[in-house]
Symmetry: C3
């Protein structure tokens, strides 16, 4: 935590690095097994989440009832939870679902959309501290805000940040990815220490994505800026992270999903004439990008 | 019911068969009258359901409140009900809606998504036995599960199937269409005997669709496998079945909708570069396929 | 109010008319500032609303909880409320939200989808009379119905219309835009008299859109009929009107959004092969149409 983002240097991961091999295997497994990852997600982008999961090779099921989630979790490889558009009953349903997933040691991904906004959302996110996810994926402001809501930033950062600066601009990040590195490391260590497998990861999405397991920090450049001009880029990445988590451990899943998205968005941007055709081309590219290309995508190791 | 699926033979329906004439007329009427079919459907694919209804020539209205559905049913030709993403209040709203639709003899289509999963869904589906729909459309596992939930399979199949084999893999079918033929026939006979018009149909979606009115069995090949790579292929087919039900009787509506989808998905697959452009091309093809082409689509009569 | 629609004449707005300058400035500001307009909108078209807001240059946030809306309203330039697919709790949430928005003088757009259908919707719409929006955007039947629900048509029209003729055909208009001119003028004057800034507008969507501030009436021709073959054309226009309202006053926002849509839909129709590719091309065209082209779009002043 003593390192600041500005002092980090990043070097490309070697072509034969074990992480790349793990990513390639994960991408192959998703396409061989069409794993089911279920989602409890917002109403805005629920369709894109499902279509992205199908486009990478998985299958999708979406539910809002604890008894549905419990039944499907018996056959699903992972669960994705996104707190974007809350309904009143989510305040009791979501804590119950997190408790049941963790009681049965089921891996799950949390997308803390708009963390810091709305007391219902804050209460739900607070409850997850007792039953934390395997992976948290969000933008920089959301990662910082969740770390703050869980009081994990008290020791190192309480004098640096006030509540105001950790509140996102709606669903947009007001912070840069690098500013969230300390929070991401702290959060990943907390998740790892509570994980039934001992492994966990945090993914911070931005111009250059950042993924960490609490030990190493990976930076993933190369995605298209057009991803910020369609709704659901982050949510669908969260859902696809769930798909990868159904066939691999947390760090591999988080990196594989982000790299797959970066490759596909880069490819889609080359042919798209605007955000409408970009979305179609992006789903096509998720489908068409090979496991080898994903594994050889841009990955930097920071230190 | 004594025939098993493996012993069936299927022959192409003649070009001037009355069913083909009924399909052509239905397709023409949809485009002339732009009939309204309202939907109570899941949040994942609600947009595609509406867009598919518009693309075949109908109009759409979506609601979740019994008083909305009742008001719109006065002006709608049919209603489509899909139990995909349940909210708690659906447990009372849906049985009430089914009761009101049947009390006023309004035709409706049931899509028993994920039948067999979740006690709330099971309770809702059980309640529909008292107020059954005009058409049930689902995948093989869902049709088998609904027949089981309604105890219609007791006499013939209770010794063959346990609860476990009738539970779908989330929203995916674990059974093949042929395995659901007996259940579809049983279900269609039950629906017919409770229909205010005496007619009803069951449609089983899969690689080759199966439609039956309880007497004859029709098989509809030719759809594209890419339909399994976009979310909502089944739901939008259910919604369009509602659109066709607004202008024709049950058997014609179920076959016409499936054949229209098969023609369009086949056409779309020829130009699509992946699931993203496939969805756009599929909606275009629904719009562009002529009534004559639909009526002359692949239809096999089984016996 | 004594003029009837049939006697109006319309003349093109001059190229250097102040309204055109205001539209051009608004379109530039949206792209410079990427303003946030939040939405409480229906589940059918929520994705298109967000994507359209992004495609014109703004940002989006969608919520259903009063505490979310209140938190986001502090950072959002405007709020868009659409009563399409109601859930039971909306009956209390929406009146509370309207009250809070008006108490803090926050501008908002109301889309009275299916006004006249369903007692829950009618009760919600009635409640808004006490806390009226800055802009109302709807089809002709919805504008007439809302004016009727608020008893604003008593003096002039009570003998002309019965409840029956003001009920829309589901979400489709049974009335022509011109038939709603009197209602739109009446409604706009009511909104202006209750607006914290003294300005307000009503937009009636149709083959030729009509926008009025209660004094002047503008007609906006040139949109593509394909807009009636995708779901959410009206809703996304409402959302984009919110985006423009975040950077300009009511009349400019309503006209700018409609003209931007008409330009883009005209452009999209030139290349689309059907409703699927039309939707993608439309979002592309929203993104690609310049502020100058929007400002020089077809606008007629009626008198």
């Amino acid at each position: 935590m003593s390192d600041t983002a500005s002092s980090t240097t990043s070097t490309p991961l070697e072509a034969d690095h074990p992480i790349r091999k793990a990513i390639e295997q994960a991408a192959r497994l998703v396409r061989q097994r069409t794993p089911l990852a279920q989602s409890f997600t917002n109403f805005v982008t629920i369709n894109l989440v499902a279509n992205a999961q199908l486009a990478v090779g998985g299958t999708a099921a979406m539910s809002y009832l604890p008894n549905d989630i419990a039944d499907v979790s018996a056959i699903a490889g992972a669960t994705y939870i996104n707190v974007g558009t809350l309904l009143p009953f989510f305040a009791t349903a979501l804590p119950q679902i997190a408790k049941e997933l963790n009681a049965s040691a089921k891996p799950w991904v949390l997308d803390p959309v708009a963390a810091g906004l709305g007391k219902t959302r804050t209460a739900i996110l607070q409850s997850f501290k007792e039953n934390p996810p395997t992976i948290v994926r969000g933008n920089a402001s959301e990662i910082i805000a969740l770390t703050h809501i869980w009081n994990l930033d008290v020791a190192s950062e309480s004098t640096l940040r006030s509540d105001e600066t950790t509140r996102p601009a709606g669903v947009e990040s007001v912070d840069e990815v690098d500013q969230a590195q300390d929070a991401a490391l702290t959060l990943a260590r907390f998740l790892s220490s509570h994980s039934s497998t001992g492994t966990a990861a945090v993914a911070v999405s931005g111009a250059v994505d950042l993924v960490t397991d609490g030990a190493d920090v990976y930076r993933l450049p190369g995605g298209s800026e057009m991803m910020t001009k369609i709704t659901g880029a982050g949510c669908s990445l969260g859902g696809v992270t769930g798909t990868y988590l159904a066939v691999s451990e947390a760090l591999t899943a988080a990196i594989a999903a982000s790299v797959h998205f970066n490759c596909a968005s880069h490819l889609a941007a080359e042919t798209a004439a605007g955000p409408g055709t970009f979305q179609s081309a992006f789903l096509d590219a998720l489908w068409n990008t090979s496991a080898t290309d994903i594994a050889q995508g841009a990955i930097l190791l920071s230190n």
